[in-house]
């Protein structure tokens, strides 16, 4: 990397006795100055660009406002004459003479699908108005339909949410505005005008202002380098200057927080020397990075892109209605997360008394943890017992038993889930029939949370013990036999042998298996979705099935993305915690 600020060499840090920095790297002070410059460029540059866009759309909005008033007047002329008939064209001609800004106009009646009056040259091709609309003119008719629907929907819902005018900007700078007219209370058509807008007054901030804001902190830091010899102080000064610049430049304070964060990160990255270290590492191990480049590209496309897209989605309010709008327009910050975390209505009052609100995030989280712990405990216990049994010496048909016990694992789990669901059927299920043989009453398994939980845990227990059994069996066979022999000679009981030899020897094999199994079970979508489907009343829903329901039954994509991100965060915290715990066990072993 070429030094970005060679004029600052040698370092002004006042410690000439220290070994000089490698020649091809910026000094501490230089890095800080460049970091301030780049960070200010990012923050101020983006803010300036946003300001320019905002002022442009504001001035366009003001122009449109004025033209809409003119279009409304045109619509009123048509409405007074009943919206159709021979009288429209002359009335419009008279009206247009008093309107110097109007270049062309047309009046369309959608009830009779006719063009009542027009001065648009394109409209004359199919014949002079009044006449019926021709097929190529369908967009005009659809425009009328849209306006009518919007006006009626607004009246019905008592909102102004749907636009009652359409504004189109032409390449020439003119605006095309359509306004509907009502006859006897119903929209029957619209008037559309092409008008020259009043010249907009530019309110955009000048470019020199942004450039000054970018240059100022850089120049100040550059100046400071001559007086301040301590890099830490210089770094803090740079940070303060940067934040002050962003604060002073921001016209809309709310939007600047995200940019300020990004700028500070960039400043720390460059000014703190991380950028230099990263690039020299990249250069030094160039070959290695080339080797892993295909894998990195693959990971970027297949893993990181969807992952980050999901995270970005979680900050928006995208849903089925807004799926086609750009995400920037749907940005709502951390609101989805706040909604999830602050959803503390765990109980609700009903006429029947206080009930748990099963749709609540914390209930689902509690149930997911309960579900995970129960399943892993059952899996480990059953798997370990079976492994110990199979590990008996001179057991006949051992291979056969082993194959049979691994079978539940080999069958696709959704098939197993559906079989178990059938077995739990209230009237025809085999489990209730067995209960009836012994004189019991059939149980409606999915009626109460406890029985429903028992049903799903049984199903998943069936699926999860073979894995634990295989893991334990492998580890058991690697325990040397002389350990037991020595223990026997010392007079240890069977239980003592198990506690002191078998369990510690299994630990290194079992703990990674348990960690894996926790993650699988936490997100075991199939079993919950297919066996209990969350019944009764969503009480046996786990986080991942809940996220699915939010996304594909309620169609709240943004909220569901936030929900998934929360699931990811929980598993990430668990993973970090587990990693520490495992390292601890490793050091003991």
């Amino acid at each position: 990397m070429a030094s970005p600020a060679p004029q600052l060499e040698p370092a002004h840090d006042g410690t000439p006795s220290r070994t000089p920095a490698p020649p091809r790297r910026a000094s501490g002070a230089g890095r800080i100055a460049v970091g301030v410059l780049l960070a200010a460029l990012l923050a101020v540059g983006v803010m300036h660009w946003l300001d320019v866009r905002r002022s442009a759309s504001r001035s366009q909005g003001a122009e449109a406002e004025a033209t809409i008033v003119v279009a409304r007047a045109a619509a009123d002329v048509a409405a007074k004459l009943g919206g159709e008939g021979e009288g429209i064209a002359p009335a419009m001609t008279a009206w247009a003479q008093s309107q110097p800004s109007v270049k062309a106009y047309r009046v369309i009646n959608i009830d009779s699908r006719s063009l009542e009056a027009s001065t648009f040259p394109a409209d004359q091709q199919e014949g002079a108005p009044p006449r019926r609309l021709a097929r190529p003119e369908k967009p005009l008719y659809d425009l009328g339909q849209t306006l009518r629907t919007n006006v009626e929907t607004n009246a019905e819902e008592q909102t102004t949410g749907n636009p009652e005018f359409t504004v189109e900007r032409q390449a020439s700078g003119d605006v095309l505005v359509a306004a509907p007219f009502k006859v006897d209370g119903a929209v029957t058509g619209f008037a559309q005008i092409l008008a020259t807008p009043v010249a907009p007054k530019s309110t955009a901030p000048p470019l020199w202002r942004a450039l000054a804001f970018i240059a100022a902190p850089f120049l100040v830091v550059l100046g400071l380098t001559f007086f301040v010899r301590n890099n830490t102080i210089l770094f803090i000064a740079g940070l303060v200057l940067l934040l002050a610049t962003i604060w002073l430049h921001a016209t809309e304070k709310g939007a600047s927080y995200g940019l300020a964060t990004a700028a500070v990160l960039l400043f720390v990255f460059v000014g703190g020397g991380y950028a230099g270290r990263t690039s020299s590492a990249l250069l030094e191990h160039r070959q290695a990075y080339w080797y892993i480049a295909p894998a990195i590209i693959g990971m970027l496309l297949l893993v990181f892109f969807p992952f980050f897209y999901g995270i970005i989605l979680s900050f928006t309010r995208q849903n089925i209605y807004t799926a086609n709008q750009p995400l920037t327009e749907l940005w709502i910050g951390a609101k989805n997360y706040v909604d999830i975390i602050t959803d503390v209505n765990i109980f609700r009052n009903t006429p029947a008394g206080r009930q748990i609100n099963y749709g609540n995030f914390y209930w689902t989280l509690f149930f997911t943890i309960l579900w995970t712990v129960a399943n892993v405990a059952i899996g480990v216990a059953v798997g370990l017992v079976l492994a110990l049994v199979l590990n008996t010496k001179n057991l006949r048909f051992k291979a056969l038993y082993r194959v049979l016990l691994i079978l539940p694992w080999a069958v696709p789990n959704y098939i197993t889930a559906l079989i178990w669901k059938g077995m739990f059927h209230q009237q025809f299920g085999v489990i209730n029939q067995v209960i009836q043989i012994f004189g019991g009453d059939p149980i409606s398994w999915f009626e109460k949370p406890a029985t429903s939980f028992a049903a799903v845990v049984t199903t998943n227990g069936w699926l999860s013990f073979p894995f634990m059994m295989v893991v334990s069996l492998g580890a058991l066979q690697s325990i040397p036999g002389d350990l037991y022999e020595a223990a026997r000679v010392d007079g240890a009981t069977r239980w003592q042998q198990f506690r002191s030899i078998t369990l510690p020897s299994l630990k290194p094999a079992l703990i990674p298996a348990i960690i894996l199994s926790v993650v699988w079970t936490f997100n075991m979508f199939n079993i919950i979705y297919l066996v209990s489907a969350g019944e009764p009343a969503g009480s046996t829903e786990i986080l991942i099935t809940q996220a699915y329901k939010i996304a594909f039954e309620q169609y709240r994509y943004g909220y569901a993305a936030a929900y998934s991100t929360v699931i990811f965060a929980i598993l990430l915290i668990y993973g970090i915690f587990q990693n520490r715990a495992t390292r601890a066990t490793e050091s003991i072993a």
Partner: protein
């Protein structure tokens, strides 16, 4: 020499093709329905030279999502065929379905059964031509039922005589906790899930009465199996253990050839003053994709597809129920008992709501129905809770 000829041919061939407009149609038909549909497409391609239609069968599971993702970005077909329940959602999302009011005239709209045309209308604008419809009707085992019941009183009496729950025999079997099926009673009692203005009315009085009747059949009369599902209903009927089933055309394909079956209109409801049960009508519409570049030609094909000759092929060879009114006066179609039975049932049907909020309805009402059949909640309380949840979800979505 040969080579030059080939090159010349290759150069000429695209220009020959270019004179034709290609219209791509996406549908989710399979089996016999697909064969009949493709026959209609081939007939159309052979009948004229300007438009070439190519049909693509898309798996049903992925169909709706594919439309939602591909069409607004201009990567979709020119025409697609789907039931009306997603119509409102696609219109609300925008740039998916083209309004076709402009092309319509009275002669054209008159050739469809009015209720199917109503299903294609959203906010007073027509968005598609109705192709086929599906309704639930009564299927009965001829060996067990001599005369199909005409009223719920007759139904319960007959079903009781045919029910023996210890040997797993039932007079009536249908998927009553699923409210698509249960809607025959909802609508029969004047209930439903949306009113005319598109506002949710889950807790309306009619729905509560309808559900009380269903619960009477389940707990008091004990004429229906507990925890039904499509698989259970099918196997009971095929084993001769269910005398009467309420289901739609999709059920007929699953009936075992050993069972002699017949179709009859759903009985009238004594408890609702003799009003008929009213199943939902789901209508497959032919929609023109909004970003299509050949809307005119697409509409021409949509017209042909829903015309009488095409409807006849799809009715007789594809076993579908055409929305075309005129085809039912055809001698062969009129003689077909299945087509006739569904056509009769259609008259009491109600088009399934096509408002976008319909998708919000499924989960809360399903939860309510499950709570009711599990006796964890009374119908009124469960529907009140569902109503609240739907209103809250709609409010969250509109925000």
């Amino acid at each position: 020499m040969k080579k030059t000829l080939l090159v010349v041919a290759a150069l000429l061939f695209p220009t020959l093709l270019a004179a034709q407009t290609e219209i791509v149609v996406w549908h989710a038909y399979r089996g016999g329905e697909k064969t009949a549909f493709e026959k209609v497409v081939n007939n159309y391609n052979a009948s004229q030279k300007n438009i070439k239609v190519s049909a693509l069968a898309v798996p049903y599971d992925a169909f709706a999502d594919k439309i939602t993702a591909a069409v607004p970005r201009g990567k979709g077909p020119d025409i697609f065929i789907y039931a009306q329940d997603r119509l409102g959602g696609w219109v609300a999302a925008g740039n998916t379905i083209e309004p076709i009011d402009f092309y319509l005239d009275k002669k054209l709209t008159d050739r469809y059964i009015p209720s199917t045309m109503q299903a294609m209308t959203f906010r007073k604008t027509v968005y598609g031509l109705p192709l086929n419809y599906k309704v639930i009707t009564m299927v009965y085992n001829k060996a067990l039922v001599k005369t199909p019941p005409k009223t719920t009183g007759e139904l319960v009496k007959l079903a009781k005589s045919l029910t023996n729950s210890s040997s797993g025999r039932f007079g009536l079997a249908y998927w009553y906790p699923n409210w698509y099926y249960h809607a025959i009673l909802f609508n029969g009692f004047g209930g439903g899930v949306f009113n005319a203005a598109g506002k949710p009315i889950v807790n309306t009085q009619g729905n509560v009465q309808a559900t009380n009747l269903m619960m009477k059949w389940m707990t008091q009369d004990k004429i229906v199996p507990l925890e039904p599902s499509t698989a259970l209903v099918t196997s009971l009927f095929n084993e001769g253990k269910a005398a009467i089933v309420f289901s739609g055309p999709w059920f007929l394909e699953e009936i075992s050839p050993k069972v002699q079956w017949g179709l009859a209109p759903l009985p009238t409801i004594d408890e609702a003053g003799g009003k008929p049960m009213r199943p939902w009508i789901s209508v497959e519409g032919v929609y023109i994709a909004a970003p299509s570049k050949h809307k005119e030609q697409a509409f021409e094909f949509a017209k042909y597809l829903t015309d009488t000759p095409a409807a006849k092929i799809m009715a007789l060879e594809g076993s579908q129920q055409p929305a075309n009114r005129l085809v039912y006066s055809d001698a062969q179609v009129a003689a077909n008992p299945v087509l006739k039975a569904f056509r009769t049932q259609l008259d009491t049907g109600v088009p399934m709501p096509n408002v976008p909020e319909m998708t919000m309805m499924w989960s809360p009402v399903t939860t309510a129905m499950n709570a009711i059949v599990k006796k964890a909640s009374t119908p009124a309380a469960a529907f009140n809770a569902a109503q609240k949840e739907v209103e809250a979800n709609i409010a969250k979505l509109k925000k």
